[in-house]
């Protein structure tokens, strides 16, 4: 099955990449851009057929490795 994990910096954490992108967009003339935040995601190909089992498993991976709970939050999606 395929699953996706979204990882984002918590709102309280400064996002240097988002900031640099915002600035770059503004200088490019996109002055309608108020704010940009950058996140990442992981597309996983996982063995198994039970969506709930895969979700539990991937959530485990996300909490242990893929995201750093000190500064990031995550969300798991099972795609089928």
């Amino acid at each position: 099955m395929r699953a996706r994990v979204y990882v984002t910096l918590k709102p309280s954490v400064f996002d240097p990449q988002g900031r640099v992108v915002t600035d770059a967009l503004t200088t490019l003339g996109y002055d309608d851009v108020r704010d940009v935040r950058q996140g990442k995601y992981f597309d996983l190909e996982v063995a198994g057929t039970d969506a709930e089992q895969v979700r539990a498993r991937v959530t485990d991976m996300a909490s242990r490795l893929l995201a750093n709970p000190v500064i990031e939050s995550y969300r798991v999606e099972v795609l089928a």
Binding site: F14, Q17, L65, L66, N68, V70
Partner: protein, 233 residues
């Protein structure tokens, strides 16, 4: 005395740390990350580099290395542990130090000699320094922008856990002296029991005048002399 320098896949300052410990007058042995014990080491260094390429997050994968259990036990028993640059990042991911790193303010890698002020001298790695002493140390990182939530930050300050701060030419921890956007100009911190220290600058690269600065020797000498055992070299 012997210092264990842990080698993770992608460490690149392991040999430099070993060399610097020897310059400071002690032994250093390289310990592979898959090993499970630290031997008779009296101190541990987690060196700089790009463990596992820093691909997921700096230090994120390295914290799971088998040796980290031994490092944690060692730290829990009060043993001195120093994380330099990537080593600091690993200590953060492992939860041995509070907070986290994000990308440098301008998202660029920054490599240069910077003034760093020693704010606390009651750690095994600063005992030979003077309070307020300014050391000139190289930094070389893309992700040295230290961050922590407000409570953590308050606790760090209250417990005098901020050990090193970036300063400007006049010794002030101001914006102009901050090379990476780090909160409160933090360059290095310790844990609550003060035996685990992490810093982004590289003292081990500044232990000989020929390299442009010998100020880093203060950090390594603190360790070597603090433990009261001197050279075999």
């Amino acid at each position: 005395m012997t210092v264990a320098v842990v080698v993770f896949p992608g460490s690149n300052s392991d040999v430099d740390a070993q060399h610097a410990v020897r310059v400071a007058g002690a032994n250093a042995t390289l310990v592979w990350h898959k090993d499970t014990d630290l031997g008779d080491a009296q101190a541990v260094i987690l060196p700089g580099g790009f463990a596992h390429g820093d691909y997921l997050r700096t230090g994120a994968i390295a914290r799971f290395s088998p040796i980290m259990n031994a490092v944690r036990d060692f730290a829990d028993r009060g043993g001195p542990v120093l994380g330099i640059c990537n080593g600091f990042q690993i200590l953060l991911e492992a939860g041995l130090l509070p907070g986290a790193m994000v990308r440098n303010r301008d998202i660029k890698f920054v490599s240069r000699l910077v003034p760093v002020r020693v704010d606390q001298v009651d750690t095994p790695f600063t005992s030979a320094c003077r309070q307020g002493q300014v050391l000139h140390l190289p930094i070389a990182h893309g992700e040295g922008n230290y961050t922590a939530d407000a409570d953590t930050m308050a606790a760090l300050e209250a417990n005098r856990q901020v050990i090193f701060r970036y300063v400007d030419a006049d010794g002030q921890p101001c914006e102009a002296g901050n090379p990476n956007g780090s909160a409160r100009n933090i360059a290095g911190i310790c844990n609550a029991t003060r035996n685990v220290v992490g810093l982004m600058p590289h003292p081990e690269r500044a232990c000989e005048a020929a390299l442009g600065s010998a100020d880093g020797l203060a950090v390594l000498s603190s360790l070597v002399h603090g433990l009261g055992v001197s050279s075999s070299r």
